[in-house]
Every structure is written in C-alpha cells, then in structure tokens.
C-alpha cells in the first residue's frame, strides 16, 4: 500500500466550506489508502449497471403495472397496481393501489404526461429506459445488463472474500452490533467518526453494505431467474421457494426498490460526511484523515 503523503493546502478556503465539501482539512491530516482498485472499479461499474437495470426494469413493469402474490395473477386482487382512470380518449387520473388503499398519484404513477398528453403509464417516461413505452427494448437492455451485473458482482465478491475484505471490513462484529444504538444516535446527529475510527466502516455501514451485497443482490438475481419459464423447467424449486412466479416478481420489485432506497441514503451520507473526501477515496482510493499519522 502506498504511504499517505502530507499535504499542504495552498488556497485559502473558509473552513466551514472546506468541511461542507469534504476537502482535506487545513489542520494536520494525511491521506489514507482506503479503497483498492477492484473496489473502485466494480463500484462505479455497478452504479452504471444498476441505473440501467432499475430504469429498464420499470419499463418492463409498465407492460403490466401490477404485482401479485402466488403462482398466477389474481387480476382482481393485486397487491399493488398503477392504473389510470377516465375514458379511453381522456385519461384523467392516475391511481396507485396498495392492498385496500387507493392513492391519487396523477402525473407520476398510473398516469403521466407523454408529449404533453396525459397518458396511462405505470411509471413516468423520465423513469424508464427507453423513455417511450417500448417493452421489447426494455427487455433487451435489462437482460444484457443483467449479465454485466452478475459478472461485476461476482468479480467483487470473489476478490473481497479471497482477500478477507468481507470478513475484516464488511461483516458486522459483535462489537458493532452492541454499539448500534449509539451509532444510530450519532448518525441522527450527523456526527461521523474521525481520525483512526474513520478508517473503518461503522456498524450501520457494515450492516447496510452486507444487506445489499449478501441479501438483496443474490435475491434480486434469484427472483429474476425465477421469472424465466425455461429456468423454471430446469429448476422447479426456484419459483417454489419464493411462493410462485408472481411472488418472485413481487420480491424482485421490492429488491429493486431496496437498491433505490440504499442509493438515496448512500448519496445523502456521502454528502453529509464530506462529499469530496468520499468521492476522492472512491476515485483515487485516498481518504483524508484528520490528525497526525500514527507512527
């Protein structure tokens, strides 16, 4: 690992702004090599892949914007549906139904504007790849990038397991679990670890990363495969363990939105705990730590 080098700031930037942007602090600090190149490469590849997967997935979902539980679709009792109300010529209203509840989501879910015209659509055109209703193309994007998602994910997981990254840095320890309440309070107060403690992931981070890597990612691949009729012939237990193909489709959808929720929290945390410092560490690998390097 390269040695961290002392840096001297040349320009005068107000310390509050410096802190807000996550620039290296004015006081004593050093750059710590935090992320290896495989982590950085697979991280950014994954960001691009998940973007395409989520938005092409919403395009596919729009072909039949309803979710069910079980083996087949009970069309009268979806768990969730995004529908349009009004006449065929004039869509007036978009309705999101979740269980027994209806919500007016006109303009976003169920009905949204396409070329200025209110149109029946599950998710709006700014949330799908491609933008217009085009199931065939959505499927091409989704199934091509699914291979990249699996290849990229496996590359990371194999490396991370082999090099001990999983055991050492990602899986929460008993200590992490014991400190979780304190960790939650600290996060709520936007108090983030400094100095030596900033070199490690905290308990909440470990939990979030582990959940996404070891639960959501495998689950989304398995439920995706469970929707394939040929895979179901090859492995009839695959849809069975999820309670049927339509349940698998619903879990697939929930996993996709778990990724989205993770992404939103991740971005907020990156910004709150020092945007540039975090970005730099995921680009060059180097993260600024306040204080003197331990001898």
């Amino acid at each position: 690992m390269p040695a961290g080098d002392q840096t001297v700031s040349r320009t005068r930037i107000p310390s509050r702004l410096r802190k807000a942007l996550g620039l290296a602090p004015e006081g004593p600090h050093y750059l710590f090599y935090r992320h290896g190149w495989i982590v950085r490469l697979t991280h950014w590849a994954n960001a691009a892949i998940l973007f395409v997967m989520l938005l092409s997935g919403l395009q596919i979902f729009n072909a039949h914007p309803a979710l069910y539980w079980g083996r087949s679709s009970d069309f009268d009792h979806p768990i969730l549906s995004l529908t349009a109300r009004g006449t065929d010529d004039a869509v007036a209203k978009g309705v999101t139904q979740i269980g027994p509840w209806d919500f007016d989501t006109t303009g976003v879910l169920g009905a949204s504007k396409v070329d200025g015209q209110m149109t029946a659509r599950g998710f709006p055109d700014w949330a799908t790849i491609p933008g217009p209703q085009w199931l065939a193309m959505g499927r091409l994007w989704h199934f091509a990038f699914a291979w990249l998602f699996v290849a990229n994910g496996l590359m990371f997981l194999v490396w991370a397991t082999w090099r001990g990254h999983v055991r050492r840095d990602l899986l929460p320890t008993k200590d992490d679990i014991r400190h979780l309440p304190q960790e939650i309070v600290d996060h709520a107060r936007l108090k983030f670890p400094k100095g030596e403690a900033a070199k490690r992931y905290n308990g909440l981070q470990k939990l979030a990363y582990s959940a996404v890597l070891f639960v959501v990612a495998p689950l989304i691949v398995a439920t995706g495969l469970a929707m394939s009729p040929t895979m179901d012939a090859a492995a009839p237990w695959l849809p069975w363990i999820f309670g049927g193909r339509q349940s698998a489709r619903t879990i697939h959808f929930l996993c996709a939105f778990s990724f989205l929720a993770f992404f939103i929290v991740h971005i907020v945390m990156v910004v709150l705990s020092g945007t540039w410092n975090n970005l730099r560490s995921m680009i060059t690998g180097r993260y600024a730590i306040e204080g003197e390097r331990a001898p």
Partner: protein, 257 residues
C-alpha cells in the same frame, strides 16, 4: 443539510440522470445498439439450454391451481370471413397442413388430430407482459405429428402460420400472425397442438380450433389459430425475417426468459 446544498445535489443528480436517460433512449433507436444488446440473447439461450437441456419439464400443477379466469391476449377473434365461416361450422372443415422440408406432407383435420394419442397438462402460462395464468391444456404432442411427416435432415425450425390478420407488411401484403420454434423446443414432450382448455373445446379467444403450447417459453411463442406448419432450414424469407410476428417488432426470438 442546507437548502442550497440540497438543491445543488438534487439538480446535479437530476441533470446526470436525465442526460444518461435520454442517452439510453437515443441509443435504443440505433440498429447497432439493438443488434448488440440482442446478441446477448444467444448467450442467454445457450446458458439456459445447458441447464434445461431438451427434456426438463415445465412444472405441472394441480386442478385446484387452475385460474378461475384464464386471460386471453393478442387476437381474440380473427377478423376474416373465412375464419368466421369456419367458426360457424364448428371448424368441421379446418385443416392443418404440415409441409416444407418433409418427405411426406400432411393435411390434418380436427378429427385426425383428436384420433392421435393426446396429452393433458396443467401448466403456467407466462406472458411477456409479466402476468401468469394456470390452465389445463389437452392436445396432440407435436413430436409424433412431425415424425409422421418425416422431416428432412436439413430441417432446423418449425414455423406456425396462423389465421389471424395482423395489419400489413411494409410491402403492402397482408400480414398474419406466425411463429417459430427450433426442433429442440418443438419436439419437447410438453409442446402440444392444443384443442381443449380446462376440459372445454378451445374457445375462439384462446385460438380455436388449435393453438400451440410450448411450456418453457413465453406466451407470444404459442401461436393461435394454426393453419399451416412448415419445416424450414431458416426463417429469413418469411415476413420481417425474424421468425415471428412479435420478433419482427423487436422482441427476442428466444422467449425462454
């Protein structure tokens, strides 16, 4: 987080997202992108075939799993006078021609088909749109029908030509629904020419008098209103050349996923 930072972040994310999104939409129009993404279909097909092989059976369900209402999709009633005349006489004179690369072309009436050993299977129908319905299908396995026609060694695909009109081809000719399977899928034990659904005579909306069931594929593969079966070496000369009506509209030929 201060308002200005939040707004900046939102604007940056929205801007990057919108640029990537419109990029993907524009790329979607380009034939080379469609071809490149479509190439992946071959990888998917090969890998799935490694797992499923020729004989892995689709799950068969119990009577109690049958959906109360089996959704009909696509053409619900072919809009031609010929079809209406057949329907009015209970398809008494309907014939299915089996030809192309075969030693012994056949012309089968409904009675001929029903005289052959039948197979009944309760299976799940998966539409490309995402929904599923379970129903009980009865029909003649396609494999012995093809065997009776004695396929020539160069035959690789089985084409199904249907009675439902689907608008016009770019040439101005009338287009009809059609589909194709390769021999592996066509001779799979659960691939049948179905003439009954849930114990009843196959309803018109489900493809009367005979439709295809290919249980390891998506619904659009399962041609309805079948009039002619043809064995071919490749399907490039038919309609849009992609092997099926929906394939000509950009859907994948391999519909196992």
């Amino acid at each position: 987080m201060t308002d200005s930072r939040r707004n900046f972040l939102k604007a940056a994310l929205a801007g990057a997202g919108a640029a990537a999104l419109s990029g993907c939409t524009r790329l979607s129009q380009k034939p080379w992108v469609q071809d490149a993404l479509g190439e992946v279909e071959n990888l998917t097909r090969r890998v799935q075939r490694v797992f499923a092989g020729g004989h892995a059976l689709a799950t068969e369900y119990k009577k109690s799993d049958i959906a109360p209402v089996f959704r009909a999709n696509g053409t619900l009633n072919p809009s031609t006078d010929e079809y209406a005349a057949h329907a009015a006489t209970g398809f008494r004179n309907w014939r299915i021609a089996v030809g192309g690369l075969v030693e012994k072309p056949l012309s089968l009436s409904l009675d001929d088909l029903q005289a052959m050993p039948a197979r009944t299977q309760i299976t799940r129908h998966d539409c490309v749109e995402g929904w599923s319905c379970i129903g009980e299908w009865t029909g003649v396995p396609l494999a012995p029908v093809l065997a009776a026609a004695r396929p020539k060694p160069e035959a690789r695909y089985v084409m199904f030509f249907c009675a439902d009109p689907m608008g016009n081809l770019p040439s101005g000719e009338a287009a009809y629904y059609y589909e194709s399977l390769d021999l592996l899928e066509a001779t799979h034990p659960q691939t049948i020419l179905a003439y009954r659904l849930n114990g009843q005579v196959l309803p018109i909306e489900h493809g009367a008098p005979v439709r295809l069931r290919a249980e390891r594929q998506l619904g659009y593969k399962m041609a309805k209103y079948i009039q002619r079966i043809e064995l071919v070496e490749n399907f490039h000369r038919f309609a849009g050349g992609k092997g099926g009506y929906w394939e000509d509209q950009g859907y994948s030929w391999y519909a196992g996923i």
